[in-house]
């Protein structure tokens, strides 16, 4: 059963409603100084993250990343008390493509005994429809011996999303999620939300769900990203906390050494680590 899960952040901001406008009564005035010739932009550098100190058995820590990670880095994550990695398996570059770094990331995470979830950063401006992009992810992993049980869809960065065009597609739904409260999403869609005060260590929020407020059809959250752009085991990652639940029922053999990583006919299975 391929379960799709949604990862959203809602901006509670008013949007303009088009109306007719009065005629302009503008006096033309010189505007020579109004172009910025030297624009400075903030640069964000990943600093080392604080250590994981987990006193609550119902929460576990993970990192989400889209960079390649070696086996020793994955081992380091495990030693650093992270229980899972959320690996990007679809990249929005160009018209969107299967993210090939996910293959080794998943294999290394599996060898290190980490739980594995995967997420896709779709490309809403692509000529590829949403389901076609998901197909690329699914086939990309499947062709490399990886079975996908669930996927997280990244619906963030409104600047990258276009206004909705008919017919409805995943991008317009996501845009609705971004710009409004969509109350009719299916109830089996899980939520991975983020809340930081800024990038880096100083911008972290507490690694709990206390700041979650219901929106749209999401009454509860499953994962929270509470820190962004930090360095863990020399990887630039974001940090997450998730509710440790019972993974979706799986008729498979549990591999001996790593109880929380499941294989199916010698295929690595990703997804289902995060409970509802």
């Amino acid at each position: 059963m391929l379960k799709l899960v949604a990862f959203t952040f809602l901006f509670a901001l008013a949007s303009a409603r088009p109306q007719d406008v009065d005629s302009n009564r503008i006096v033309a005035l010189p505007n020579d100084d109004l172009l910025v010739t030297d624009i400075g932009f903030e640069k964000i550098e990943a600093k080392p993250a604080p250590e994981v100190v987990s006193v609550d058995a119902s929460y576990a820590y993970g990192v989400d990343l889209s960079v390649p990670a070696t086996l020793s880095q994955m081992n380091c994550l495990k030693t650093s008390r992270y229980a899972a990695v959320f690996v990007r398996a679809f990249t929005p570059t160009g018209s969107g493509a299967f993210d090939t770094t996910s293959i080794n990331n998943i294999r290394n995470a599996y060898s290190a005994g980490l739980g594995i979830e995967n997420y896709m950063t779709p490309q809403p401006l692509s000529s590829l429809q949403g389901y076609q992009q998901l197909d690329l992810l699914y086939n990309g992993l499947h062709n490399n011996g990886i079975t996908v049980r669930s996927v997280w869809i990244q619906v963030t960065s409104p600047a990258n999303w276009q206004k909705p065009q008919p017919p409805m597609s995943i991008s317009s739904i996501a845009l609705s999620l971004i710009t409004g409260n969509w109350a009719t999403l299916s109830s089996d869609v899980l939520l991975w939300y983020w809340h930081v005060l800024g990038g880096g260590v100083t911008g972290e929020t507490p690694a709990t769900f206390d700041d979650f407020r219901a929106f749209g059809s999401f009454k509860a959250a499953s994962v929270k990203q509470f820190a962004q752009v930090e360095s863990v085991c020399s990887l630039t990652v974001n940090r997450d906390v998730y509710a440790v639940g019972i993974p979706a029922a799986a008729k498979s053999n549990v591999s001996g050494k790593f109880a929380d990583v499941i294989t199916d006919n010698n295929k690595i299975v990703v997804g289902g680590v995060v409970g509802v």
């Binding site: 059963m1 391929l2 379960k3 799709l4 949604a6 901006f11 509670a12 949007s15 303009a16 409603r17 088009p18 109306q19 406008v21 302009n24 009564r25 503008i26 006096v27 005035l29 505007n31 100084d33 109004l34 172009l35 910025v36 030297d38 624009i39 400075g40 932009f41 903030e42 429809q129 949403g130 389901y131 998901l134 079975t147 409104p158 600047a159 990258n160 206004k163 017919p167 409805m168 597609s169 995943i170 739904i173 409004g180 409260n181 969509w182 109350a183 009719t184 999403l185 299916s186 089996d188 869609v189 005060l197 800024g198 100083t202 911008g203 700041d211 407020r213 799986a250 199916d264 299975v269």
Partner: protein, 286 residues
């Protein structure tokens, strides 16, 4: 086999394009999902605490107001009203409601600040939009001392950050020419999305930031600056919007705090010269 069937949930189910025969046809859960939007209904806001000496409270609004409503706002413990003076609809226009709201606020003993919600996709340049505000208020005898520029809702801005920077700077430069104090109303995420983290806007530009967990009373954050983290060129904020879409005196407003020590008395809204002023109640000195 774990994957007995591939069942896509309704997120993909609403893709209503025809599927070529070679692509596997998936059992859609609901192919005609109506997209509904939840209405946000403003509930009554909590009361302003009476013992907070260091912060003052304000409301920001874009709806028309009556004198009695603003008197009620004053009674409820608010010190200032942040009034929208520019409407982004269509090509953007001066918001006429600002005139009466500023007048009512003065009569009620409230300070006022004005903010503009610009229209970055307009054929009018940034400075032209500011000019409309300046002329609109000056014509009714209101002198504008400061202006806050709303830079939020990334979906309402074009995707080119450099163009957005130039647009905003057009407004900021024009405001400086008029001798106004300039501030930006934004959040770190909005700012990153819209301007790519523009950090050279100028040290004289103040910051009004927002942080809520959601709309309404349930989504409020504490009415203080403890959750502020430096971004852009800002290391301290002047105002924080901590609550959105709530009812105060039957007005749908957002709620704000600012450092109280910097606030001029509302009576200073009218100087000895008899002119009415708006703005200048918030300063950058913390």
């Amino acid at each position: 086999m774990l994957l007995k069937s591939v069942a896509l949930i309704s997120v993909l189910a609403v893709i209503a394009q025809s599927v070529p025969a070679t692509v596997k046809v998936l059992p859609f859960v609901d192919s005609s999902l109506p997209v509904k939007f939840r209405q946000v209904i403003a509930e009554a806001a909590p009361r302003v605490p009476s013992n907070l000496a260091s912060y003052a409270f304000g409301v920001d609004l874009s709806v028309p107001t009556s004198l009695s409503q603003l008197q009620c706002v004053k009674q409820a413990g608010y010190s200032a009203v942040f009034v929208r003076a520019y409407n982004p609809s269509g090509q953007g226009s001066f918001d006429q409601n600002a005139c009466s709201t500023i007048q009512n606020a003065y009569n009620a003993g409230l300070g006022t600040e004005i903010y503009m919600t610009p229209q970055p996709s307009s054929s009018k340049q940034g400075y032209q939009q500011l000019d409309e505000i300046y002329q609109g208020l000056t014509q009714v005898g209101i002198t504008v001392r400061s202006i806050w520029i709303q830079v939020t809702s990334p979906t309402n801005w074009p995707s080119n950050a450099n163009n957005n920077v130039n647009f905003i700077n057009s407004i900021v430069s024009r405001a400086r020419q008029y001798g106004m104090t300039v501030g930006i109303y934004t959040s770190y995420y909005d700012w990153n999305q819209i301007t790519n983290g523009w950090s050279s806007i100028g040290n004289d530009v103040l910051l009004w930031y927002w942080n809520v967990l959601g709309g309404g009373v349930n989504g409020e954050t504490p009415a203080n600056f403890a959750d502020f983290r430096a971004f852009g060129c800002w290391t301290v904020p002047s105002v924080k919007q901590f609550a959105q879409v709530e009812q105060v005196c039957q007005l749908t407003v957002n709620r704000d705090v600012y450092a109280a020590g910097t606030m001029l008395k509302a009576a200073d809204a009218v100087q000895e010269d008899g002119k009415m002023y708006t703005g200048g109640f918030i300063s950058g000195n913390q």
